[in-house]
């Protein structure tokens, strides 16, 4: 900033941030204090004792460990699927000519506005007819299928600035369309592909509605957590641990890659400003 900025601004934003984070601090504190001490509020200091009891007990009480692996598996496979399939499609849309290219492209990239609610009812009846309820495919197909709406847009946006001469040179030297993709475009567009992967991983990890409807036994963390976080359940300490476990991985990924996340969200929203 040029010139002197008012002194109170850093103080004020710090104060705001502290107020902002209080609800989250409450969860962490609740998870490491005996429940009998927090019955009057997690902030009370009349008897201070820290314990990891809830952290050990929670695994036997709720299906968190299993949920963790299910979530990792579902989000991981869906992320890989999107990362592998998206670049090929974005390359085809950007550098190849074929009938209905623009029509297909416009349909796909505008589907990003669709809420998940629009697709779940027909998918539910379809999966029921195909016997896919409680099959990982019932979740993976919508995870990956819905992601193309924003992922192809993001990668294609990157490819718009990719030096066209490189692709043309490879074609003149005898590369076919697919070889030119594999050897020229793909190795040079890893950064948007990883940005797509990070976003997709976060979306899939946090996804609640789709697995809630299509899975019965292999439940990912948000579903497990939603089931135990009902209003009238006791065990505030155990549920606090479950909350932390559920959100730890995505929150960590999110904070490490916040720049990519911001760029990605803006790109997926459809504006380049």
């Amino acid at each position: 900033m040029i010139g002197k900025s008012p002194r109170w601004i850093p103080y004020f934003t710090w104060l705001l941030a502290i107020v902002w984070v209080i609800p989250l601090v409450g969860i962490v504190v609740t998870s490491i204090r005996p429940e009998s001490d927090t019955i009057l509020g997690w902030w009370r200091l009349d008897h201070v004792e820290l314990t990891l009891r809830a952290w050990f007990e929670v695994w036997g009480k709720y299906k968190l460990a299993e949920g963790f692996w299910v979530t990792l598996e579902l989000a991981g496979v869906a992320t890989l699927g999107t990362m592998i399939l998206t670049p090929a499609a974005a390359y085809a849309f950007q550098f190849l000519r074929f009938p209905f290219r623009r029509t297909l492209l416009v349909i796909i990239i505008n589907a990003f506005v669709l809420p998940a609610q629009v697709v779940v009812i027909p998918l539910f009846t379809l999966w029921r007819q195909m016997g896919l309820i409680d099959n990982v495919l019932a979740v993976l197909i919508p995870y990956v299928g819905l992601s193309f709406a924003w992922s192809i847009y993001l990668v294609k946006n990157f490819l718009e600035d990719f030096p066209r001469e490189l692709v043309e040179a490879s074609r003149i030297d005898g590369c076919g369309a697919i070889r030119s993709f594999l050897y020229v475009v793909l190795p040079n567009s890893l950064s948007p592909i990883f940005a797509v992967g990070i976003l997709q991983f976060l979306f899939c990890w946090n996804s609640l509605l789709i697995p809630l409807l299509f899975m019965r036994t292999q439940l990912p963390l948000p579903v497990v957590f939603a089931q135990i976080s009902g209003m009238y359940d006791a065990n505030w300490d155990l549920r606090a641990v479950a909350a932390i476990v559920t959100t730890s991985v995505p929150l960590l990924v999110f904070l490490i890659f916040q720049r990519q996340f911001a760029g990605g969200s803006v790109a997926t929203s459809g504006s380049k400003e």
């Binding site: 502290i18 074929f98 009938p99 416009v106 809420p115 779940v120 197909i141 509605l209």
Partner: protein
């Protein structure tokens, strides 16, 4: 490779062939078709399964009366007529409007305000910015639980404790159990979580402002507050527009936080259309009815998205 499928080299090719420019054009148009469709095939199949089929089928289902596993009955626009007459749906529509407008206005407003302040002292405010932004990275389902701790009706509820600490103990009550306050509690919780994105996007917009402009203003004697009012705020508008759109879409499709925090209750007072369809279709198994409600949600989403869709379509080649 007798036919090099390149745009640049085609010109000379057509001169050699001579007299058949139309065939050349056609050949150029489909030159890469096999490779392109091969690369696109998995994407088209999955996209068809996950988006196109459900979209068409939602429209079809909305015209049928389907209850549980009973035999579906074609009723034309009957579901939509029933929706309009359904007091619960009308309430859900009102709630959606209130919810969407309030959460978007609060989260974008707060994010904008904080971003402008931070723009005046970017370096000193880095850590508080990340802290506020972090709330946006928490799973939506978990946000519901985080705020459950704040709104608890008993003495361990933070909100009640603050009120009684401030001598307003008579205001304390079960915030989520009261149909009058539950929706506002939800709006506050969701706005809290959604402020991070506008903050980040708008702050990024302010950092893109050219130093020359600010320097010129400084030389002319502008105070930081002047600069904020006349330079930074107006030039942050592109970021504000993007943030408004993202958060509007997010609020319209919100489900997770509502599901965990109130489950649509009490007495369906916190049901948005995005939640109403879930309840009708998956707890009452009225699939056609839910599909019709979903289409109304989709209409709202499309209206909000028209500028973005036009912009995307136009700018994409």
């Amino acid at each position: 490779m007798s036919e090099v499928a390149l745009r640049g080299s085609e010109g000379s090719n057509s001169r050699v062939v001579g007299g058949a420019p139309q065939r050349t054009a056609l050949r150029r148009w489909i030159a890469d078709a096999p490779a392109a469709y091969l690369l696109l095939l998995p994407v088209l199949i999955l996209f068809g399964f996950a988006v196109l089929y459900p979209l068409v089928q939602t429209i079809v289902l909305s015209l049928w009366d389907i209850k549980g596993l009973g035999k579906p009955k074609f009723i034309g626009l009957g579901n939509f007529v029933a929706l309009v007459q359904d007091a619960n749906f009308r309430q859900a529509a009102t709630t959606t409007l209130l919810w969407t407008l309030c959460t978007t206005a609060i989260s974008v407003g707060a994010g904008w305000g904080i971003a402008l302040l931070c723009a005046l002292a970017p370096r000193q405010t880095l850590v508080p910015r990340v802290i506020i932004f972090a709330a946006f990275g928490v799973s939506e389902a978990v946000i519901g639980y985080v705020w459950l701790q704040v709104y608890r009706g008993d003495t361990a509820g933070l909100l009640n404790a603050i009120l009684s600490g401030a001598g307003l103990g008579n205001l304390a009550h079960a915030w989520l159990g009261d149909a009058k306050t539950a929706i506002w509690c939800l709006i506050a919780a969701y706005s809290w979580a959604q402020t991070g994105l506008p903050l980040l996007v708008i702050f990024a917009a302010t950092q893109a402002i050219s130093r020359n402009v600010l320097e010129a203003a400084y030389v002319d004697g502008a105070t930081p507050m002047n600069m904020m009012r006349h330079i930074i705020a107006p030039l942050s508008m592109p970021g504000v527009r993007v943030a408004l759109f993202i958060n509007l879409l997010g609020s319209l499709r919100a489900f997770d936080t509502i599901y965990v925090l109130t489950g649509g209750g009490p007495v369906r007072s916190t049901e948005t259309i995005g939640y109403f369809m879930f309840r009708e279709s998956f707890t009452q198994f009225k699939l056609g009815y839910g599909a019709a409600a979903t289409l109304i949600l989709l209409a709202a989403v499309l209206i909000v998205s028209i500028p973005a869709i036009l912009q995307r379509t136009k700018s994409t080649t």
